[in-house]
């Protein structure tokens, strides 16, 4: 069973999910980056893909797996099989996107790729992000990226839910204010 789950037992599987919710990816990297080359080789062998295609598809699979872990959509069972299956679908989706520009397969969640038009928005977000303090960054990351409820964050940080709710509002406002400043500046520029 552990082999089917990349050496994870049920307890370590749970730990992995908890870590990822806090955006602590160390354990995830220890387990999954080891599979990278093996997965690339599989895609090259089974689908005659180029190394570049296989690299991108495997990277997208890692991202997809992280998302599924925090969304609670992965069960302890046969992660190895699922990883290979998603990698195959990522490869086919990328091929389809590159040739026809059609959206991804229904099996996959929303495409996480960064389109060129997103780069400007990402850059804007990154600049605004830097203006936040560490506490705000952590709270927003845990909540929006790690899908942690505010009550869970409150418990984790030993604060009351009301405090966390208020803190979130302040952090969101600060980030939005930064977007506003940058947007005005870019319009003026």
């Amino acid at each position: 069973m552990k082999h089917k789950n990349f050496g994870l037992n049920e307890a370590s599987f749970e730990k992995l999910v908890i870590d990822l919710k806090k955006n602590d990816t160390y354990f995830f990297e220890q387990v999954f980056l080891k599979q990278f080359e093996e997965t690339m080789n599989y895609l090259r062998r089974e689908y005659r893909s180029s190394s570049e295609e296989a690299y991108d598809a495997t990277m997208d699979t890692l991202i997809e797996f992280r998302t599924r872990f925090v969304d609670g959509k992965l069960q302890y069972g046969n992660l190895r099989f699922l990883f290979t299956k998603i990698a195959s679908q990522m490869l086919l989706r990328n091929r389809k996107k590159n040739t026809a520009g059609i959206d991804g397969e229904t099996f996959l969640s929303e495409d996480a790729d960064t389109e060129p038009e997103d780069l400007q928005g990402l850059s804007q977000l990154n600049i605004a992000w830097k203006s936040l303090g560490e506490a705000c960054k952590q709270l927003l990351t845990w909540h929006f990226y790690g899908k942690m409820k505010l009550s869970e964050i409150a418990e984790e940080t030993q604060k009351t839910p009301a405090t966390i709710r208020k803190q979130k509002e302040r952090c969101v406002k600060k980030l939005k204010d930064q977007f506003g400043i940058k947007t005005i500046q870019s319009h003026e520029g």
């Binding site: 290979t84 977000l125 929006f144």
Partner: protein, 228 residues
């Protein structure tokens, strides 16, 4: 994404809508950050480098650069061997190097199998734990060996230093085996390690330009020619 950021500045936006947009843009940001981080780790820790893959692809059209890279690879291989062993590398030591320095793992049972043979599971488990002797025993007990079983059975024999048996197993594969490229490579290494260089040359010559380990096969062929 820029539209989403502008939408956030709309004073009439609802809290729910605001949360959804934040969720989306934060995912884009952090996914991008993780990809950057993982590219770095893959490059430094695992030697898997996207840039070098692209470079390799571009270079496939340039014959001169390709020859240069192949030469550089040969030189670096020779220098590495001379550094570590202080003796000129022979085809035998090169083959040993390839076997010892490449981690070979079984990816698990093939998809579509509903009732997996217990021996197969045990064979794979033992193989991935590098217990090749045990893995061979389980492979031997398989009722119906598929292409993948035969390939990994052969590999287990090779990695357990049972070269004649590994050769026999690889030779028993038919040409339609989907592991043909891998088998050609490992079969040639098995021949070299079994001191059957003439047979190794025949198999190495069957490795096509688009096949796995073509460059390494050419290097080995050169080495075999110079040792004849």
């Amino acid at each position: 994404m820029k539209d989403k950021l502008n939408k956030l500045l709309d004073p009439s936006i609802s809290k729910k809508e605001e949360d959804l947009i934040f969720e989306e843009i934060m995912k884009k940001k952090h996914d991008q950050d993780l990809k950057t981080k993982w590219r770095e780790i893959l490059s430094t820790k695992y030697g898997i480098n996207k840039e070098s893959i692209i470079l390799k692809k571009k270079n496939s059209t340039s014959k001169i650069i390709k020859i240069f890279l192949a030469t550089a690879a040969c030189i670096s291989l020779i220098v590495a061997f001379q550094f570590f062993y202080n003796t000129p590398p022979t085809p035998y030591t090169i083959a040993q190097h390839y076997i010892n320095n490449q981690e070979i793992l079984h990816p698990g049972a093939s998809k579509g199998i509903t009732e997996e043979n217990q021996n197969r599971i045990l064979a794979i488990h033992a193989f991935n734990n590098k217990n090749y002797r045990q893995s061979i025993k389980y492979f031997q007990n398989l009722n119906e060996a598929n292409d993948e079983d035969v390939y990994y059975y052969g590999l287990a024999l090779l990695l357990n230093n049972q070269y004649p048996e590994a050769i026999q197993k690889f030779e028993s594969n038919n040409n339609d085996n989907r592991f043909r490229e891998e088998i050609n490579w490992y079969q040639s290494l098995a021949y070299i390690l079994d001191k059957q260089n003439a047979k190794a040359k025949i198999v190495l010559e069957q490795i096509n330009k688009t096949d796995w380990n073509y460059t390494q096969a050419q290097e080995l062929l050169q080495k075999l020619d110079s040792n004849f």
